[in-house]
Symmetry: C2
Subunit: 389 residues, 2 copies
């Protein structure tokens, strides 16, 4: 019997090249727009800015966007946002800009400190309309209930998870991702692939989410290298944008697992960008998980197009299944290489001596570790970090 599930997503998703034009329609009825935009993408979103300005609404631009926004930076913006009192908040950029927009949409009507909403379901309401326009294909934040912040005191990334963080409208225009540089396209793309793979092999995997995960894997595996090689290739950019959106749809109801847990300390202590950390860890964690979810990896390999569909069955021998499953891991390694993902944590200043501390921190991210198909001890986490050194 199909197990129960709650599925939440934006009531409207506008997808496709040119759909950024629909932003105009989605601003009807609002009067005060807070637009949060990553300054790095600002030159590439001129026409979107033009749409916002041409509405004649009062607009406040927030450009203080840094990766995984530090909590104290967010708090610094609160009074400005409360004073502006937006009835619409738009996030334009990668995951960090959209996540910041999400948090500011909440803070605009409350004095609750950010520390009071960190965690799951602690946000009680949201008043402004929330619209997201991603300029990278990676986090899927445009459809998720999640915002990731940095607790600089604890040197840890922390998440706010709430239904109120799901945008009302996601406008996913692949043309907005054209300016994303190759290394960002690579790491965010493999990050999106990680969302799909970790959801599909999750202990909470669900058929209603599997369809997104498998289609996301198919789209991303088939196009990420092309998008990295030629950022203007709109066919590849479209496939990546849809695949990333599907990765995002996996995150709310099922979420990720060990890769993301292991990435947390890398982001917190070594400032390894989220997508890069996930991309570097993914093949190692897959190899660790393989014995626990070999049949699922077979289907991942099918979706990646590296084995023909239907040739490996549940009734086949263990060794045949595991061999087919490892084709999925091999393909991920290959893809990372084709995309030029950094090969070693050493490049980010991680040393042998740091590993055990990181491993202890990672296994404490039980919210994600508990989703992993194979239980991971701190010693096993250390071993995975060592493989990625």
């Amino acid at each position: 019997m199909i197990k129960p599930i709650q599925l939440r997503q934006p009531g409207v998703i506008e997808f496709g090249v040119g759909r950024r034009e629909t932003l105009r329609d989605h601003l009807s009825g609002v009067t005060r727009i807070l637009a949060v935009v990553d300054p790095a993408v600002r030159p590439a979103i001129d026409d979107v800015a033009q749409i916002i300005e041409s509405t004649g609404r009062v607009v406040e631009w927030i450009t203080e966007v840094v990766p995984e926004p530090p909590i104290h930076e967010v708090e610094r913006l609160r009074s400005r946002v409360r004073a502006f009192a937006p009835d619409c908040v738009i996030g334009i950029g990668g995951g960090s800009a959209i996540d910041l927009a999400k948090i500011l949409s909440i803070l605009s009507t409350t004095d609750e400190p950010v520390s009071g909403i960190l965690g799951i379901d602690l946000v009680t309401t949201r008043t402004p309309r929330l619209i997201a326009l991603p300029t990278t294909s990676g986090t899927g934040s445009e459809v998720t209930p999640i915002a990731v912040l940095t607790d600089t005191d604890a040197a840890l990334k922390k998440g706010v998870v709430s239904r109120y963080l799901i945008p009302d409208v996601a406008i996913v225009d692949p043309a907005l991702t054209v300016s994303s540089p190759a290394p960002v396209t690579a790491s965010t793309g493999i990050d999106a692939l990680t969302h799909c793979i970790e959801a599909f092999t999750n202990v909470h995997a669900h058929p209603a989410v599997d369809i997104y995960a498998l289609e996301g894997i198919r789209l991303i595996a088939g196009h990420v290298a092309r998008a990295v090689a030629d950022g203007t290739d709109l066919t590849a950019r479209s496939a990546m944008a849809l695949g990333s959106l599907y990765g995002g749809l996996c995150l709310g109801p099922v979420n990720t697992a060990a890769v993301h847990a292991l990435a947390y300390p890398l982001g917190g202590s070594f400032k390894v960008p989220h997508g890069v950390a996930n991309s570097m860890l993914l093949p190692h964690v897959m190899r660790f998980n393989l014995p626990a979810c070999a049949l699922r990896y077979v289907r991942v390999a099918e979706a990646m197009g590296v084995i023909a569909p239907g040739i490996v069955l549940e009734s086949d021998s263990r060794s045949k299944i595991e061999q087919a499953a490892s084709a999925a891991v091999d393909r991920v390694v290959e893809l990372s290489r084709e995309c030029g993902i950094p090969r070693s944590l050493t490049e980010f200043g991680v040393r042998q001596a740091d590993i055990d501390t990181m491993a202890k921190a990672a296994v404490l991210v039980t919210r994600l570790m508990n989703n992993n198909p194979r239980t991971m001890s701190a010693a096993q986490a250390s071993e995975i970090y060592r493989q990625a050194l």
Copy 2:
């Protein structure tokens, strides 16, 4: 390049046995509930009625639900609904109860006659929260922007299509479908299959909708006969409920085609229930369409499990492809037989002499006929009716 699309659906979908309990949460904050329930299912939804009554809110029950509600009946309810002034409307039942709830949620705040909103995008707003709990697996109305009414003067079914008709919350609890009698399970089930097949072979087919269509085909083809044979089989009921929901997700952005167009006059003039009409026409229309979409039918046959995935390729000979495609048609015929779908329009009083008039009316349903993969003349429509006689 993936073509642009707008995807709309309820922001919340609660799926699974027992999820009707969540209705309580979704009623938080409302004060006046208009509950529209099909009297035929009333005995089977005692615990849902209990949840609604136990909220302590003011509740008005509407039980005047008839199949494809006649417009004059809907108008008769208007003053009562306006006087009650609900801030929440709940539809509980098959497509007709949910469609009536949708229309009443609109009428509750407007004096616009129903005739003024028939058609596409003529509804301008909706105020009450709208919640749908289906008790059949067929129309998918719980997630669609569509309500079907009957214009008794013109003896024609007419549709209201608007984003405002998409419920805010769809609660799809397969346990609510257990009381659905075998013939209803059969015809509504094949109707849902029709939604998926007509969306997948549609001229507007889209990859973001194909994933719902194929998964719906897989679920329905695999479980409809089981659900008909044993209505208490919750595994089969769950699969049908999810398959039907996916059929509904196909309807907004892509919609149906010739089967539904040909069914319109059968519903309007001969009172053939919507699901029955579609079920009887589906194999004949598929056979007609086959030359125009053979490769797509191959994928339908794969999803139905009647041919192994990947054994027929685009590069294969035309005859090999068409032979594999016809396996899909044969399977639909077989399924209809296993489910005890009526075999002949004659049973509903349709005679040879009626056919040409019906065919002329059907080809005028251009909104759907234009979606069909193969152009259909009135003469060809007549021929299909004759095959179904």
